[in-house]
């Protein structure tokens, strides 16, 4: 008793000891050695996320909708039979029959020469517009030239020489042109597949024999096969089921006699919004936002061997300390007693910025296979969980209410995608990915496989 009293007096003597140090000065010294506050970094992160969202919103607003003409099959009769009879197509017949020779000559005088451009759309517009100053022309000419089947128009090549200085060349039909070319053994000046620009921009390269020949009108044709205009920018919204299997890297954990289940399943769902830019015809890069909700379940069996027994006779205290330490690789560690089987649930919410490269490996009809690889910058992680026994008895209620908000969880991933197009803008895809953690929301070096069944709505165009 007396010993205890003396011990208390000694402890009191130190507990009531006045502090002689200047605390303000001490705090200043400590503060100078602490790392600076990370306010700026947080601001930068949120600014980055905000800018990404704004960019996505602006793209949504200003990007054009689906371009039907890009995938529209050629509907004109002319275009359907381009190779067999390019110069004597039925569409030429009404023109040939309707125009008299005089009318053709007069019309030839008044033809406004226009430089053909490489843009097929612009070319089509120019060609389908009737000549502006042809009052004498037969109305059937105009109607036929503006018709869908009358995309071939008659034009003249020489734009520099005045019509008065040149001999008046008769306007020939395509059949006449072909006949004349055969007779003079001159290579044809129009060829299927060559763009009008090449034909008009390089007249000097073609062999010319006479002024009359120079005046031979050429027939320009639309491109065949039509150029598919794949969009440079593309957006996709995906949502789907996720199933991950992850293997833990337990590192240097000194847990004995605890059979740790190193592999766990994380079922859940996710949403992904991606804005993509096509760098190459089959390669595109994308940036977006991804939200994932996963539920993790880990089973533990056995007990650790962290037992400590101390007998203190000197201070007349005697205690035996025995504990079971359950080790969780990442989010928690816990001391409990007498539990041999535990099940650990974690609910994980993640918001991340994926940066992804996609490569279209193969496509046939509505099916497509692609490769994708990229990285994820995790913006926010939430995790909440609880321990339960094998009988689902909740051991740790406190923890179930507790939210773990941790930084990190950045990852690299890569995988395969099998997609099937359901419509112009809808599709489903199965994705298998390998993902490796780069930082320690769980533990650096964790890796896993993720399989997802996604439904996708594409903002601009479906690529497969």
């Amino acid at each position: 008793m007396k010993k205890e009293s003396n011990q208390n007096r000694i402890r009191d003597a130190y507990d009531n000891q006045p502090v002689s140090l200047d605390k303000a000065e001490l705090w200043q010294a400590i503060e100078s050695e602490l790392p600076p506050e990370e306010k700026e970094r947080k601001f930068l992160l949120w600014w980055f996320a905000g800018a990404a969202l704004l960019g996505i919103a602006l793209l949504l607003i200003f990007l054009p909708g689906p371009t039907q003409e890009a995938v529209q099959p050629p509907s004109s009769a002319f275009a359907q039979k381009p190779a067999q009879e390019p110069l004597s197509s039925p569409s030429d017949a009404p023109v040939e029959n309707a125009l008299t020779k005089e009318a053709k000559t007069e019309a030839a005088k008044d033809v406004v020469f226009s430089e053909a451009s490489t843009d097929s759309k612009e070319n089509r517009t120019a060609l389908s517009t009737p000549p502006p100053q042809t009052p004498d022309a037969n109305p059937s000419t105009a109607s036929s030239s503006s018709g869908q089947n009358q995309q071939a128009v008659i034009a003249m090549e020489d734009q520099t020489t005045a019509p008065s200085q040149k001999p008046k060349a008769p306007l020939l039909t395509s059949n006449e042109v072909a006949d004349k070319q055969d007779k003079n053994t001159v290579p044809p000046r129009t060829a299927i597949g060559l763009s009008p620009a090449i034909q008009f921009k390089n007249p000097g390269l073609l062999p010319t024999t006479s002024p009359e020949e120079q005046a031979i009108p050429t027939v320009s044709l639309p491109d065949w096969p039509p150029k598919t205009q794949t969009p440079k920018w593309q957006m996709s919204l995906s949502a789907g089921y996720l199933s991950s299997r992850r293997q833990y890297n337990s590192g240097n954990a000194t847990v004995r006699n605890l059979k740790e289940q190193n592999e766990t399943e994380l079922p859940g769902w996710g949403m992904n919004y991606l804005v993509q830019y096509r760098i190459l015809p089959k390669l595109s890069i994308g940036l977006g936002l991804e939200y994932q909700q996963l539920r993790e379940r880990i089973d533990w069996e056995g007990v650790t061997d962290v037992r400590q027994t101390a007998v203190e006779s000197d201070s007349a205290s005697f205690f035996i300390y025995q504990s079971v330490r359950v080790f969780h690789p990442g989010t928690l560690s816990r001391t409990e007693t007498d539990y041999t089987r535990l099940r650990d649930y974690n609910d994980i919410h993640r918001l991340s910025l994926p940066i992804e490269l996609q490569f279209d490996l193969w496509q046939r009809g509505k099916w497509g296979i692609g490769l994708q690889a990229g990285g994820k910058i995790n913006l926010i992680n939430w995790a909440s969980g609880r321990f339960v026994t094998a009988d689902d008895e909740v051991l740790d209620v406190q923890r179930s209410k507790q939210l773990f908000r941790k930084r990190g969880g950045h990852a690299l991933y890569g995988g395969l995608r099998l997609a099937y197009r359901l419509g112009q803008q809808w599709g489903i895809s199965w994705q298998g990915q390998y993902e490796r953690q780069l930082s320690d929301v769980y533990r650096e070096g964790d890796f896993g496989y993720r399989y997802g069944l996604w439904a996708q709505r594409l903002g601009v165009n479906w690529r497969f």
């Binding site: 140090l21 605390k23 001490l26 705090w27 010294a29 050695e33 602490l34 203190e312 000197d314 560690s333």
Partner: protein, 187 residues
Amino acid sequence: MSLLKIIQDCIDNKREAQFLLFDTFSDFVIRICERYCPDVPTAKDLSQITFIKIFKNLSAFDVRKGSFKNWIQRIAINECLQFLRKKKLLVFVDDFSTVRLTEELEDDAPSDDHLLAHARIRELIDALPSGYRTVFLLSEVDGYSHKQIGEELGISEATSRSQLFKAKKALKKNWESTSPIRKALQG
């Protein structure tokens, strides 16, 4: 604001929370440092090192393993012991003459004031050789077992027991021979 919230904010490197933590535990830490190293500049340096170590290792603190105060106490004591070992100030003597100490204390005037009594107790303990004092403080004030003391100081359990016994004997002799302290303890 709960302590856990303050700790979490400190982990997030929030200066306000760090100051709050410092303000709450500064007296506690400084007292530990002054207890083991009565020299004021040394105690200040050790307090500073202790707090920096606390802030850097807060994420390693596990509330399930023990109280935060104990965790801080352990860090502070470890820092002090490390300093004493480094500076070779820990000398474990086999014999210690209590006469000199008694003679020195006899010159002081007696007092009934408790605070003064505490000061005299501290003076008595501070006057002990460093080996005695450290073992005595670890055992009697901070509640370390001899096994733990042996591990911390790199000595055997038997040496720890012996040092504690001799320290107690020396103190007892001084208490009995100095009337102000006896008076204070009896009162």
